[in-house]
């Protein structure tokens, strides 16, 4: 108790010291005097004291629960595996619920709300794409936005020069972005971890700088305006109608991306990615071509970014290099990490939080980034594995006489 009071007091004093120039001093430029708002110190001190107390309490509780769950895992294997199966079902229903709710939502929302939700869902797909590269294959990619830019500019330029439409641009941009993904993948095959991150970061910047400076082709920093929205079977919709239509397109894309990711996850390819993440040497020793696996991950991840790039160009009807800064990559990466590496539902939840929260916190505009930052810190301290830990697919085998079967299997193969 005394120990706690001492610790919290020290923290309170430290915070008072840190925030002193900001919250106490106020310079009045007109009267040329300095206001001392001493009462603010009191609030900072009390606030810091209690928050540090609560922080320590939760940290202690977390450590205790970590320890007890570790013990459980070793002992009762059967019960934990049953628990996991249940969880998968829960997730399926949760997903279905979200889907139904999402389908009805635009009918009741203003165009502004719909637009925010469209953005959030774009980030869901981007998150799912990057999730393949970072979450499953464990290749830290900080230049993911490059593929997003490739997609957006593909549509923008194809439309500008050849008048190609939205739907035809989607597969073209997807394939083109995937090729860029593979192209980037080839030189970084031997890199891992920090080194890979630096190279991909550089790649992202290169793409942005090329878009900015290659005026002849990309129109430079002024960007490409007037990119058309997709027409609904040839019918031009109004502004609100367009938004609703885009909403359903992106909803469909989210569902497709989700189903595809889930299926890939529990397939031969998905397993090879996870194996690659877990241990590259063992992965190769098990007969997996790590080159192919890595390039497939880069390519498929980029594929989704390319498609969403087209969608982004159509939604905002304007693309410029300004939209594809490192900040975008960082947000997408945050979504993957916050959601839980490799977890599909986690990505959806995290995209919701990271994109919607800043929007809805606009009424406290001055503090929203502060809250955003604090939230990230709290998350990483208390749930470093992400919001939703990825649960591995469970396999079962119908009971048969295993010994006979084993003999059969081996005789058939030799």
């Amino acid at each position: 108790m005394v120990e706690n009071i001492k610790k919290s007091s020290i923290i309170a004093v430290w915070f008072i010291f840190l925030s002193f120039p900001l919250v106490v001093l106020r310079v009045d430029y007109i009267d040329k005097t300095i206001d001392y708002r001493w009462h603010n110190i009191l609030w900072i001190g009390i606030g810091a004291f209690f928050i540090s107390w609560v922080w320590r309490y939760f940290l202690k509780r977390k450590n205790e629960s970590d320890k007890s769950s570790e013990g459980k895992n070793q002992g009762t294997s059967a019960s934990t595996s049953r628990f996991q199966v249940q969880k998968i079902f829960e997730h399926k229903f949760a997903l279905l619920g979200i889907l139904i709710a999402a389908a009805i939502v635009p009918q009741f929302m203003s165009t502004y709300q719909t637009s925010i939700f469209i953005t959030a869902m774009m980030y869901v797909v981007l998150g799912l794409g990057l999730n393949i590269v970072v979450g499953m294959a464990g290749l830290l990619d900080l230049g993911y936005v490059a593929f997003y830019a490739v997609g957006a500019y593909t549509y923008g330029l194809l439309n500008l020069h050849f008048g190609l439409g939205f739907w035809i641009s989607i597969p073209i941009a997807g394939v083109l972005a995937a090729s860029f993904g593979v192209l980037l993948g080839i030189p970084v095959l031997r890199l891992r971890g920090d080194y890979l991150a630096i190279v991909t970061l550089g790649f992202g910047e290169i793409v942005r700088l090329v878009l900015e400076n290659w005026d002849v082709v990309t129109r430079g920093p002024s960007g490409i305006p007037g990119i058309p929205k997709p027409a609904f079977f040839g019918v031009k919709l109004g502004f609100a109608g367009n938004m609703t239509y885009l909403f359903y397109i992106i909803l469909a894309l989210v569902v497709i991306a989700m189903v595809a990711t889930r299926r890939l996850q529990s397939s031969r390819i998905g397993r090879s990615w996870v194996a690659l993440r877990e241990d590259e040497i063992a992965c190769q020793a098990m007969g997996i071509d790590t080159t192919k696996a890595k390039l497939a991950a880069f390519g498929l991840g980029a594929f989704w970014a390319g498609i969403i790039g087209v969608f982004f160009a159509a939604k905002s009807s304007f693309v410029s290099p300004m939209s594809f800064t490192f900040f975008e990559s960082a947000i997408i990466l945050s979504i993957v990490v916050l959601g839980g590496m490799g977890s599909v539902l986690g990505v959806i939840l995290a995209a919701g939080i990271l994109i919607l929260l800043p929007e809805y916190l606009r009424f406290m505009a001055d503090y929203r980034l502060l809250i955003f930052g604090a939230l990230m810190v709290v998350m990483m301290v208390f749930k470093p594995g992400g919001l939703i830990t990825n649960i591995r697919q469970q396999y079962t085998l119908p009971k048969r006489n295993s010994k006979e079967e084993l003999a059969e299997l081996h005789s058939s193969e030799t």
């Binding site: 199966v85 299926r263 397939s267 098990m286 007969g287 997996i288 071509d289 697919q393 295993s402 084993l406």
Partner: protein
Amino acid sequence: MAVVLKTDKITKSFGGLLALDEMTLDFREQEIVALIGPNGAGKTTFFNNITGMYTPTSGTVEIFPPNQKSVKIQGMKPNLITELGLARTFQNIRLFGNMTVIENVMVGRHCRTKSHIFGAVFQTSSFKREEKESVEKSFALLEMINMSHLAGNLAKNLSYADQRRLEIARALATDPFLLLLDEPAAGMNPQETEDLDQLIVHLRDELKITILLIEHDMKLVMKISDRIFVMNQGRLIAQGTPVEIQNNPEVIKAYLGE
């Protein structure tokens, strides 16, 4: 008995250090061969050279897969060598910790299956069939090592001995004709070592696999090996049956000094 793997004067040097010095030996069909020697003798380096982890500085490694033409494999990529039928385990366990037990074994099936992204996304019938076969085969292997009840657990939560046995199952999933075990009994208690010894003999007799093992547990080595190779300072100093090795003065000198 037919030879399944032959090395001809393979040498490996790291800078000035000669880790392997003209190692020439061969393994025959369906035998258990042990590779022993003091620490730092180059046993694991030898493993790494024949499984493609390292490229030998000179010399050749030739394998003779059953019913196939012989292949010179020195310098090939490890995954291709595994595809040809050489599987290995690791001295410091290298399982995929965050995957389940059954998935670890299924990863071993990777090089024997073909389905790709398209098949997985659209759940084609050939994908489903292949997936089902993988699951069945993997369960069968887990049954063999008595671990099918642990199939849904994460590999990192297994006990040490179980992890070692799972590594063997994972290696077996690649359908090898030659299995290389790097210190499979390290860290096991006598009962677990006993089980392991039965498993290894079972692999040779029932699955007709040639087994090469590096091991420090001399009781185990002398009990199950058909032939033993002894290495010291990168060189092969003796070979023969367990009895011959036990009475070989060179070997005694290497282990106990003069």
